[in-house]
């Protein structure tokens, strides 16, 4: 494999990843698509889901992304995500515990405002869990 795809993963806070990879599967809002080198230029929003990156050696990395978009141009693929967590950093048990806590928060919330906020956290955690 001589030709590799230039892939960059950027969050608002920093540049998370910048390397040459074989292929990337992006959870586009209108369906998943896989990008290889010399892909036609595309600009797509993303739904929360897993980005799977196949490295040069065939090793696969899974990264959870939420809120953002992907741009493919002649130079490569750029994914801008508001949030990105590496799947290896996610612990199923810890997540389940967090969800339980969040559920309690929603039930205990004293005001509507707090409730909405807790609910948002809970939804977010559930999205994560479904992705694992």
């Amino acid at each position: 494999m001589a030709d590799l795809l230039k892939f960059e993963l950027v969050s608002p806070e920093r540049l998370l990843m910048s390397q040459d990879v074989q292929q990337v599967t992006v959870p586009g809002s209108e369906g998943e698509f896989t990008v290889l080198v010399r892909h036609a230029p595309v600009l797509s929003t993303m739904r929360p889901g897993t980005l799977s990156v196949v490295q040069d050696g065939g090793k696969e990395d899974k990264i959870f992304v939420r809120g953002g978009f992907a741009e493919v141009n002649s130079e490569g693929l750029t994914v801008l995500a508001e949030e990105a967590i590496h799947m290896d950093d996610l612990d199923r048990d810890a997540l389940a515990l967090q969800i339980k806590n969040a559920e309690e928060d929603v039930a205990d919330a004293s005001s509507d405002d707090k409730k909405a906020r807790a609910q948002e956290v809970l939804d977010h955690l559930r999205q994560l869990q479904s992705a694992v």
Partner: protein
């Protein structure tokens, strides 16, 4: 003529002040490095966002009925000023120069017969504007507890601005912040958030124009733009807050540096007059002894 004891007291109090300003300068220097790193790390995202938006807006150019966030409501009667300042003082003219700029802008708009609404981010800006425009301030974000500004902080502010916009509370939104140039210089800057001012970078526009024509958009350009523009508001606010954070520390560092230097000068002056007074007293005592001996 202050007594020797007075001078001694003043010297020790100025020395204590100097220690404090020196410590504050060093703290600011350490924080500045962190803030600068954060600002630099955030740059790629904002740049890519700008590029994509520039591409998109070019693709949509000439089409009618773009999203309101981009073309505006068609009026400019109600202006929202988003004033981002620091939470703490003792940083030279940093806060006051941002506040002054906002104040001038607001005064001009009011003179033109427009309605002005103000949202403050950071306590110092609110303090400065409260007296003159107290009734115009509609919201206030406190960042006091925030140690390192994260995207969520900016997102909260952005969300609030969008809510107000959707409720038809204003037509034009302008952001006031301080652009971080270097440690010594921070430039108070205005940025029009809504309708979005998208400047296509000349080089990028040329480079992109080749590939841009054949972009496939998923979903349609218009939907995409509608999705991206609200996000862009948060990104711009985030960038402004980070620049502000770096600028604040830079301004504090140079302010505290000159304060330390001033305290040093003052100590030198005071020590000089202390020594003079001390020698004068010794001379006086000697004269008294000698003239006493001569009188015998």
């Amino acid at each position: 003529m202050p007594s020797l004891k007075d001078l001694r007291n003043r010297i020790s109090s100025v020395k204590a002040t100097q220690k404090i300003t020196k410590a504050m300068q060093m703290v600011a220097a350490a924080k500045l490095r962190k803030a600068q790193e954060a600002a630099e790390a955030a740059r790629p995202y904002a740049e890519r966002m700008d590029n994509v938006l520039a591409n998109l807006s070019q693709a949509l150019d000439g089409q009618e009925g773009g999203p309101e966030l981009m073309v505006g409501t068609g009026k400019s009667d109600v202006h929202l000023l988003l004033v981002a300042t620091a939470e703490r003082g003792l940083c030279g003219g940093f806060n006051s120069s941002i506040a002054r700029m906002a104040r001038n802008h607001a005064t001009k708009l009011i003179a033109d017969g427009k309605t002005v609404k103000i949202v403050c981010v950071g306590r110092k800006g609110q303090d400065a504007l409260k007296r003159q425009f107290g009734s115009h301030i509609i919201d206030f974000f406190n960042m006091r507890e925030v140690r390192q500004i994260g995207f969520t902080n900016a997102h909260d502010v952005g969300q609030r601005v969008l809510e107000l916009f959707e409720a038809g509370e204003f037509d034009v939104c302008t952001l006031f912040y301080s652009q971080f140039k270097n440690v010594m210089t921070q430039i108070p800057t205005t940025l029009q958030l809504i309708p979005a001012s998208i400047e296509a970078n000349e080089d990028d526009a040329v480079a992109a124009s080749g590939s841009q024509a054949c972009y496939e958009y998923e979903p349609e350009e218009k939907d995409l733009l509608e999705e991206l523009l609200p996000r862009n508001v948060s990104v711009q606010i985030f960038r402004a807050l980070l620049e502000n954070a770096a600028g604040e520390q830079g301004a504090r560092m140079s302010a505290m540096d000159s304060a330390t230097r001033n305290a040093g000068d003052m100590i030198d002056d005071l020590t000089m007059s202390y020594n003079r007074a001390r020698q004068a007293q010794i001379t006086k005592e000697l004269i008294e002894i000698i003239s006493g001996a001569e009188a015998l």
